[in-house]
């Protein structure tokens, strides 16, 4: 693509700058002119095809001949993802959480896709990956990846917890027990042997925590003999719990409320997926 003619044989514009600078009136190269023309045509086509001209009447605009909008493009992109997920979602819609858990492919899908759902709805209290969160009183929301469950760790129990929410209750004993009695009980509980003191049965602790101190999942009372603590494992923390109770209605009481997610907050399918997701954290228990 050589320029064959001698550039210096053409006349200049006649204007001279700085004593000796002139401007030849050469035509730009043909390929360059072609490019310029093609770009101009491209501009016009682009302008007509896509939304372009804002109109003065009522904030409307020229919609473009191609009918393109950002939202339809986004929907189209989304439908690609939905198509991949669709077959799983359709399948698990009519399945029980236990049945989903029995299907390894669906379980894999849920554990991969449940992260966002858990992050949006659960992690605020339970922490990312269910590691629990703490406030100044101790553990604020339970750790979900151990095998200690207040209301049961089977897939159905977990599903019920998420769907209907949970709220345990422990009375405040500050007015019922003496300081010495509270101290004795707290030390026994801290050692993991609540039944070692006769006070445990005498003062009615067994009513909720059971004869053996292992708690009752039906009412969400804690197992006092294992290594996992709901609030605080220190003697002081245990004394605080005994004194002020849990959800006992006083200003000092410990608060432990799991909200219900059924009926508006989450769809049935989402609750099922979350149940499986939480179960697979590592603490899920067989039926």
């Amino acid at each position: 693509m050589s320029d064959k003619h001698d550039a210096s044989s053409v006349p200049t514009t006649g204007h001279v700058w700085d004593d000796d600078l002139g401007d030849y009136i050469n035509q730009p190269p043909k390929w360059w002119m072609l490019g310029l023309t093609a770009s101009a045509i491209w501009c016009v086509v682009y302008f007509l095809y896509y939304p372009s001209i804002p109109l003065s009447n009522g904030g409307t605009w020229f919609k473009g001949l191609g009918g393109w909008t950002a939202i339809t493009e986004m929907e189209a992109d989304k439908s690609v993802v939905d198509e991949v997920r669709g077959k799983y979602e359709a399948k698990l819609k009519d399945m029980t959480p236990a049945a989903i858990l029995a299907d390894s492919e669906l379980t894999e899908y849920v554990t991969r896709s449940g992260k966002v759902l858990f992050g949006d709805n659960c992690a605020a209290c339970h922490g990312q990956n269910g590691v629990g969160t703490h406030d100044k009183f101790g553990l604020f929301a339970p750790i979900l990846n151990d095998d200690d469950w207040l209301f049961g760790g089977t897939i159905d129990a977990i599903h019920e917890t998420i769907a209907g929410g949970r709220q345990g209750m422990m009375m405040a004993h500050a007015d019922m027990l003496s300081e010495a009695e509270i101290d004795t009980l707290a030390n026994a509980v801290a050692a993991g042997k609540p039944t070692s003191t006769p006070l445990f049965a005498e003062k009615g602790c067994t009513a909720c925590h059971g004869e053996d101190g292992k708690g009752m999942q039906a009412m969400g009372s804690a197992n006092l003999t294992d290594s996992v603590w709901r609030f605080d494992s220190s003697v002081e923390g245990i004394k605080y719990t005994i004194k002020h109770g849990v959800n006992a209605g006083t200003p000092e009481t410990r608060v432990a409320v799991m909200p219900a997610f059924q009926g508006g907050k989450l769809s049935d399918a989402e609750i099922k997926k979350l149940a499986v997701y939480v179960y697979k954290f590592g603490g899920g228990q067989a039926q």
């Binding site: 693509m1 050589s2 064959k4 390894s104 894999e108 554990t111 990312q128 990956n129 590691v131 750790i143 990846n145 151990d146 095998d147 200690d148 197992n223 294992d226 290594s227 996992v228 697979k280 590592g282 603490g283």
Partner: protein
């Protein structure tokens, strides 16, 4: 290198251009019609081109165990080489192969200049075939030049139609041959003749058709001059020790025609200015100006000059493969005194060792384990500590099987949970599953201990993979 250049005052910018003024650079204004002359380098070039590029056309048809022997299966992300299958995870070896190829190019160039350009490059090869067809149909260079300027008549039309048809056929075959390295060759032909290729198939074949037709048919040496980066790169790899086709100016100058009586003028050099070397040159350069960008070092000028030297009873080798050192009378250095080449060679050896290691250690399974970072460990109700591991198992065999997970190291009395039923792995795919390891708190001595997992095929312990991860416990 050019002895005719008049020396000017050093320091003047214009001295840079002295040499340039004596050169003519063809920017495409004229078509090079090179004369074809038999000779050693002509034969070597013919054979080298065929040896490298005939397999390009034929190898894809080779079958192995009912499958294409060599196939870059893009659809399935696999590379088949006879019974070997390479998945994308092992494609790092390809980078070593490319490294070997690049370094071989460098090493060869530093020893013997642009060997690739002259005898092997597809641009050289295809151009050579195209001009061979041109030579057969339109005649020798003189006839071709005449035909170029002749007015259109039936004969010209006939010759041109035949020539372009043959060119187009080669171009088409080139496109097809390229494509069938990436898809099943016979299936491709079947789809091609039934016009059922996918869009990408049509795009590739069209691009290669026009690419070949234009580059080999019209652009030719212009590609080497102005398009090809390697032509430029290789120039900097040669030095005064590199041997390349060189005009022996000490012997040839001053050049001049032989007078009628057969008597040469006294002091006249061996070069009789016959221009045979220029006429046979496929890129149209004058080798007597010294090594230059346009020279692809194909040696055809050596063939031409030797013939002439024989005729005028002068020794051969006025143009020959020689280094600049040799020409200026310096002693030729030994190969091991050429550090540049040695560096290239050692890189080649290291890369080759890497490829061999890769091929022998590829295994039939790949295992990657990620330890859960949040939380690092979980305390269970009985006081034991549980860790979570994400397993990714790539099954590189050609069948599906279940795998057994075991572990060595870690903590005493640890239990592996979650893989009581051996997980399924599908061939050519990555299976991922979660494994928990639970260990009694009392046995945990250090907060981090290595644990080596082994995943093996359920019924064949020889197919296995191992990976070392860590078991985390509370800080003691």
């Amino acid at each position: 290198m050019n002895q005719q250049v008049e020396k000017k005052e050093p320091g003047e910018v214009t001295t840079l251009y002295n040499e340039f003024e004596t050169w003519t650079v063809n920017t495409g204004g004229q078509t090079i019609h090179a004369k074809r002359m038999p000779g050693f380098f002509r034969t070597f070039k013919d054979r080298a081109q065929l040896a490298l590029w005939l397999p390009f056309f034929l190898l894809p048809y080779l079958r192995w165990n009912g499958k294409q022997a060599i196939l870059f299966d893009i659809d399935h992300n696999q590379f088949h080489f006879f019974s070997l299958t390479v998945l994308p995870q092992d494609i790092w070896m390809l980078s070593l192969v490319l490294l070997v190829a690049a370094m071989t190019l460098f090493a060869v160039t530093s020893v013997a200049s642009r060997v690739w350009c002259g005898y092997f490059c597809f641009q050289t090869a295809w151009t050579d075939w195209f001009t061979w067809i041109e030579d057969k149909i339109e005649g020798n260079p003189t006839a071709r030049r005449k035909l170029d300027s002749a007015p259109w008549n039936f004969d010209k039309l006939r010759k041109r139609v035949i020539k372009h048809t043959l060119w187009a056929l080669i171009a088409l075959l080139t496109g097809i041959s390229f494509s069938i390295w990436f898809v099943d060759a016979f299936d491709y032909w079947n789809k091609l003749v039934n016009f059922q290729l996918p869009t990408v198939g049509w795009v590739v074949i069209t691009m290669f058709f026009f690419g070949t037709y234009i580059l080999a048919g019209f652009l030719r040496e212009q590609t080497c001059f102005w398009l090809c980066p390697y032509a430029r790169i290789q120039g900097v790899m040669t030095d005064s020790q590199t041997i390349l086709p060189t005009y022996d100016y000490t012997r040839g100058e001053p050049r001049g025609k032989i007078r009628k009586g057969g008597e040469a003028v006294a002091q006249q050099g061996d070069c009789i200015d016959c221009f045979q070397c220029v006429q046979v040159c496929p890129t149209g350069v004058d080798i007597r100006n010294g090594q230059q960008l346009g020279c692809i070092t194909c040696g055809l000028c050596i063939d031409a000059c030797d013939v002439v030297m024989d005729k005028i009873n002068k020794p051969r080798g006025l143009i020959r493969y020689a280094s600049l050192d040799e020409l200026s009378g310096k002693p030729a250095k030994k190969m091991y005194q050429h550090p540049r080449t040695l560096v290239y060679l050692s890189i080649i050896l290291i890369a080759l060792a890497g490829i061999v290691w890769g091929l022998t250690h590829m295994g039939s399974m790949t295992l990657k384990i990620m330890h859960e970072r949040q939380p690092l460990y979980v305390q269970m109700s009985d006081g034991s500590i549980q860790n979570k591991f994400d397993f990714k198992v790539l099954n590189k065999t050609d069948k599906d099987f279940r795998v057994k997970v075991t572990a060595e190291g870690g903590v005493k009395d640890q239990v592996i949970i979650g893989v009581e039923q051996n997980p399924m792995t599908h061939h050519g795919r990555q299976a991922s599953f979660t494994v928990f390891v639970k260990a009694p708190s009392a046995n945990i001595v250090d907060d981090v201990v290595p644990i080596r997992f082994r995943v093996e095929q359920e019924d064949d312990p020889n197919v296995f993979a191992e990976y070392t991860s860590q078991f985390y416990g509370p800080k003691k």
